[in-house]
């Protein structure tokens, strides 16, 4: 019983982090209908920025989150407005090629700037743990989960209640109608990408705290985000959360009860099954890209 509780707790903690890392990808896919293959690079940018800022300012890495998110917001806006939008205007598949190319270039730029060596962000509580009953919790992973839940909730509230959130949702649901109502769709697309990039940066901080990272990891985080989005459904924080938690729990349950070598096998098996049974994801919503 203790083992099941411990495995589920580990899975939920891991899943929360997957969810945060995927929500930006989900939003861009849902609203802009763009598969952003440079998502992992945005995640790593957040990790490297947090490492630099927390070292330079001698503050807790989680406290660098506002600065990192603002930085990535600006990068995301410019990236979408001046590169991706131009590619989308020509043909939608161009955006995939463009983001793939940008990911390759930025990965090499990161190697040049930061070296290919693994880095890690080590806050004062990096090695702390606590117990709740029989279940042991890794403090840094729990703090990462807490940060994920707070950020996902804030994003959900922002999309639901803020004027910009309503405009983003309207644009996602009926682009033409939003345009007819006077919405500057290009600006909304760029803002959506900017918000997504900011969340990818925040995810990077959380990931940097719990895992060693290097420029070569960018592909993993794009792939994980893709799987989470397919599982949970595109375009909403709730979909990313469900997909992420499911992925985390499946990962740890498989590692514990089938074998530590098999989480990837079950992850992709689940992906295939879901694509067959429920291709819009568990929370498949009315956003255009999922129809």
């Amino acid at each position: 019983m203790n083992l099941i509780a411990q495995t589920l707790a580990d899975g939920l903690v891991l899943g929360g982090i997957y969810a945060l890392a995927a929500v930006g990808f989900s939003l861009i896919f849902g609203v802009l209908h763009v598969i952003n293959l440079s998502h992992g690079i945005l995640v790593l940018m957040g990790a490297y920025l947090a490492l630099i800022l927390s070292t330079a300012l001698r503050i807790d890495p989680l406290l660098t989150m506002p600065l990192v998110m603002i930085g990535l917001f600006c990068v995301g806006y410019v990236y979408q407005r001046f590169l991706i939008q131009r590619a989308v205007d020509r043909a939608s598949v161009n955006s995939m090629l463009l983001t793939f190319g940008v990911a390759l270039m930025l990965q090499n730029a990161m190697i040049w700037l930061f070296s290919p060596d693994m880095k890690s962000i080590t806050p004062s509580y990096a090695f702390a743990s606590f117990k709740l009953g029989p279940v042991n919790f890794d403090a840094v992973r729990v703090s990462a989960l807490a940060a994920s839940l707070v950020l996902l909730s804030l994003l959900a509230l922002f999309l639901k209640f803020s004027p910009l959130g309503r405009v983003i949702r309207a644009t996602a649901q009926q682009t033409m109608a939003a345009q007819l109502c006077g919405v500057n769709v290009r600006h909304v697309y760029a803002l959506t990408f900017a918000v997504s990039a900011a969340f990818a940066g925040a995810a990077g901080i959380v990931i940097g705290i719990i895992l060693p990272f290097s420029p070569a990891d960018e592909g993993n985080w794009t792939l994980n985000a893709f799987v989470v989005v397919v599982l949970g459904g595109v375009g909403s924080p709730a979909g990313a959360l469900i997909g992420g938690l499911l992925l985390g729990v499946v990962n740890t349950l498989t590692a514990q009860y089938v074998g530590p070598a098999f989480p990837n096998v079950t992850m992709f098996l689940l992906l295939v099954l879901l694509l067959l049974v429920r291709p819009h994801g568990l929370l498949g919503n009315a956003f255009a890209a999922s129809r």
């Binding site: 070296s115 060596d117 693994m118 990096a126 090695f127 895992l211 993993n220 530590p260 070598a261």
Partner: protein, 407 residues
């Protein structure tokens, strides 16, 4: 032709003549081809390997003015390309170099890259001396032209198991974890073979995915079974993940051995005080006592390296430089730069270099006794050699202190 034009032509010819003569007298060039991972997942160690190649060539060309083989002077030239840690790209690069006439190859880093590239150089009958691939598959396919600076993976753990036997109180049980990649899988097999043969009781053997993100379930089993020794054979980044999660989940074993990881300064820095008493394999240290025909000894090699490159020196760097030195020694012994003759000389090599004594098995991997690993242990943030006794700079700490007692 006007007089001024004649003077101009004669003047130009007079100026050019010494340049032509000096070009004729210039040393011949010996080209070493290959690929190294300067980007991608293996880039961290790939860069160390690349720096080793550069250091050796720079020293031999700039300090010694080239090398003499069969009475002729040769300058060395590297033609190495970034394979981005991608075996498919590496094979394309190697094939292209073979088509372009390159005769001698240096290895990439990672068995998954060395294995397919060695198949290509073997087919072309061109030697490859490498320090990046230890998987058994490289040395058990009957290849005649590939030589490695370490014993094959399943033989690499023998010296570590021998160290375990010397510890007091003698450990009795062990568990082993490896990741699902070409090197780590065979290294895991080697751990089982060596530890079982040495009489240790195996409690668990775990295979992780190639790129794990969470090992909590495995550590749960380790806590439940409490082995005396936990052996992890995987690449640096995954070793760090395991060590961090062990500390955070308070998973204690009397001794944690991580094949790769603690030898890197970045690893020790990331773990801080918790890296104390962790063990790892190392194939070279500045303090090894070997004499060297070109560099003098290990310390002089390290000094020269530091005068050229700021990146911290690693054993892969020394191994890579030794690959080039081994080639030169074989060419001098063969009195030839013919690939077939050089291959024959490499097969019977028995040279002392700053890195180690170089002697290959008939299958091409390093002799397990002569070129086997030393064992390093982190002591006060520095890597000290604790085994074999002849090369040791400190005594092994065993059992390691509890995580919260590490200072």
């Amino acid at each position: 032709m006007r007089r001024r034009d004649v003077l101009r032509t004669v003047g130009a010819a007079a100026l050019a003549a010494p340049a032509v003569r000096s070009a004729q007298a210039q040393a011949k060039t010996l080209v070493f081809g290959g690929s190294v991972p300067l980007t991608g997942a293996a880039a961290e160690t790939g860069l160390n390997v690349n720096n080793g190649y550069i250091t050796a060539v720079s020293y031999l060309n700039d300090k010694l003015g080239g090398v003499e083989i069969a009475g002729e002077k040769y300058k060395l030239e590297l033609k190495l390309f970034d394979d981005a840690s991608d075996p498919a790209r590496a094979t394309t690069l190697i094939q292209r170099q073979i088509d372009d006439g390159t005769n001698f190859f240096l290895g990439s880093f990672g068995s998954n890259i060395v294995l397919p590239t060695a198949a290509i150089t073997e087919r072309a009958k061109k030697p490859m001396v490498q320090t990046g691939g230890g998987s058994d598959a490289i040395f058990t396919k009957g290849y005649k032209y590939v030589f490695g600076m370490y014993p094959r993976a399943t033989r690499q753990f023998a010296s570590t198991a021998a160290l375990f036997k010397t510890l007091t109180p003698t450990p009795t049980t062990y568990s082993v974890i490896w990741t699902n990649d070409a090197f780590s899988k065979t290294a895991g097999e080697g751990v089982k073979l060596s530890c079982d043969a040495a009489g240790f009781k195996r409690l668990d053997a775990f295979e992780l995915p190639a790129k794990p993100t969470d090992v909590s379930s495995v550590l749960g089993s380790v806590r439940a079974n409490s082995p005396d020794l936990l052996v992890c054979v995987m690449h640096d980044q995954d070793s760090l993940l395991i060590a961090r999660q062990m500390v955070a989940s308070n998973t204690y074993v009397k001794l944690l051995f991580q094949g790769l990881g603690p030898q890197l300064a970045s690893f020790r820095e990331a773990l801080g005080k918790y890296s104390e008493a962790l063990l790892c394999s190392t194939y070279w240290d500045e303090s090894v006592p070997y004499k060297d025909k070109f560099f003098g000894d290990s310390r002089k090699f390290a000094e020269y390296y530091r005068s050229k490159i700021t990146r911290p020196i690693a054993y892969h760097t020394a191994g890579a430089a030794a690959c080039i030195e081994t080639y030169i020694l074989a060419m001098q012994a063969a009195k030839s730069t013919n690939p077939e003759a050089v291959r024959e000389a490499l097969a019977v090599a028995d040279y002392e270099t700053f890195y180690s004594r170089i002697k290959f098995t008939p299958d091409g991997d390093g002799d397990p006794i002569i070129m086997g690993s030393m064992i390093g242990q982190v002591q006060k943030s520095k890597l000290e050699i604790v085994y074999p006794e002849a090369a040791s700079s400190a005594k092994a700490i065993y059992p390691q202190p509890a995580w919260d007692k590490k200072a």
